[in-house]
Structure formats: structure tokens, C-alpha cells
Symmetry: C2
Subunit: 115 residues, 2 copies
DNA sequence: TCCTATACATAGATTATCTATGTATAATAT
DNA sequence: ATATTATACATAGATAATCTATGTATAGGA
């Protein structure tokens, strides 16, 4: 299925922080993990990811450092900060709230069963 | 809770078609129902709704007609078409797919339990 | 040696939504 | 009667998230 890209809006940030909560990762790796775990539903472009990472670093949600591979290639790793962990929890709470409200609109409770 | 507006992206269309599936409605009414059912989480602006309705009409998802109230006020009602019903089903399928993929990214299955 | 995958990056386009504003009428309060 | 507020539709321009397109550079395999 080819999902409307507009649906993605806003959830990419949450997903990236979630990936980084597991362990520190570099950009290209995050793109690949997103594709792998979502069966290619989320094929994030570099032009999407790097600006997000840079902005998150500026906000203090992640910090980055360079690391060399055995082959000599330099990678920029990102690590989630305490502030980023807090932001992730907030984003997840918002996400749940959002889902429940969409559900409430699409499947309204009959009057007699409302709080 | 104040939800990131970017999360809304793309789901408004689905919610509007869903409201219209119940019965024909006019614009202002949809705005109010969205707010009521979502406990004011979705406070859609006219500047958002009317362009969406016009575009949906152009796409053939809805058709509209004017109706007079007892008071003499003229309202423009919208009615979902067959094409719109089909579009709604597609949007709902995409929505479910999207939710399940976000979930798969955020809570990856351990290797041994993957299909 | 050439091609592909890896790796990071930026500029500009696209699109959904918002803010702001405008017009007009009905209902309500003073 | 008159003023205010809610209703009702509408458009223009701003904002922000993502995309497309492009660039640079290196590693690894054919």
C-alpha cells in the first residue's frame, strides 16, 4: 500500500527519537531501520532526515559525535539526551491522545453511553 | 492536551468524509461536530475546512446544494458520493496500515517472533 | 577501472494547515 | 431600536513538514 505522505506529518520526529532511545545510531542507519521495520512503508529521504536531526540537536533532544568505522569511513552518530527522552514521552502521549480523538470522531458513542 | 497540529495532516479529509457518511451536513456543522466529538481537540478553522470541501467536490467525493432554514438563512449542504464512499474506505485502510507501521517501528518484534 | 552502496548535506518545491480578514444574516441582549 | 454575538461561507497569505533534486565524497565489489 502506498500511504499518503501527509499522514506522516509529525510522527517522524517521534519515530526517530524512539529509534535513538534503543541505542545511539547514525543517519543512514535510521533510514534503513525505518524501512526495514515498516516493510518499506516509511522510506525516509535524506532530505527529510538530516534537517530533522539538525533541528533536534539545536533543541537539545539529541547530541552527535563522529566515529570512524574499521574501513575508515566517518559516521555521525546521534544519542538521545535526557531532554530528548522527555520530549519522546510527551510526543507519545500526544500521539495516543490524537489516535483516541480521531477514533471518537469516526465512531461516536451513542448518547446513552457517554460519560 | 494541545496536540501538534502537524499530526493532523492528512486525517482531516478522512474525518470529514466519515462525518458525511452518517448524513448530509453543512460546513459550520462539521466544524462544531469535530470539536464536540473530540472534546475540543480538533478545532478546525474555516480556512481549513472550506478549501478541503471545495477540493473534494472537484474530485467528485462530495456534492453540494443550498438549503434554507426556517429563519431564512441559506446553508450549503454536502453529501458524500459513491466515489467519496470508496475514497473513505481507502483512506481508512491507509490509516490502519499507517498505525500498524508506526507501531512496528516503535515496538519492534524480537527476531525469534518475526514471520 | 567502473559502478553501486554508503553517508552526509543543502536548496527549492509541494502541500496541509493555520492566521487573518472579509462579507452577510440571525439571534440575543440592552 | 440598537448593539453585540453566533452563525455561515469565503479567500489570501503565512507557516511548517516533507519531498525532489542535486551535490560531494568514500568504500566495496564487479
Amino acid at each position: 500500500m502506498n500511504i499518503d505522505k501527509s499522514l506522516l506529518s509529525g510522527s517522524y520526529g517521534m519515530m526517530i527519537l524512539s529509534l535513538l532511545k534503543e541505542r545511539e545510531k547514525y543517519g543512514y542507519q535510521m533510514i534503513n531501520e525505518l524501512a526495514l521495520r515498516s516493510d518499506d512503508t516509511f522510506k525516509m529521504k535524506e532530505g527529510t532526515l538530516y534537517p530533522i536531526l539538525h533541528s533536534m540537536e539545536k533543541q537539545g533532544y539529541v547530541e552527535s559525535f563522529e566515529k570512524k568505522t574499521d574501513g575508515g569511513r566517518v559516521r555521525r552518530y546521534y544519542r538521545i539526551t535526557k531532554k530528548g527522552l522527555k520530549a519522546l514521552e510527551e510526543k507519545k502521549a500526544m500521539w495516543k491522545e490524537y489516535l483516541s480523538k480521531v477514533n471518537a470522531v469516526m465512531e461516536p458513542k451513542p448518547l446513552e453511553s457517554r460519560g
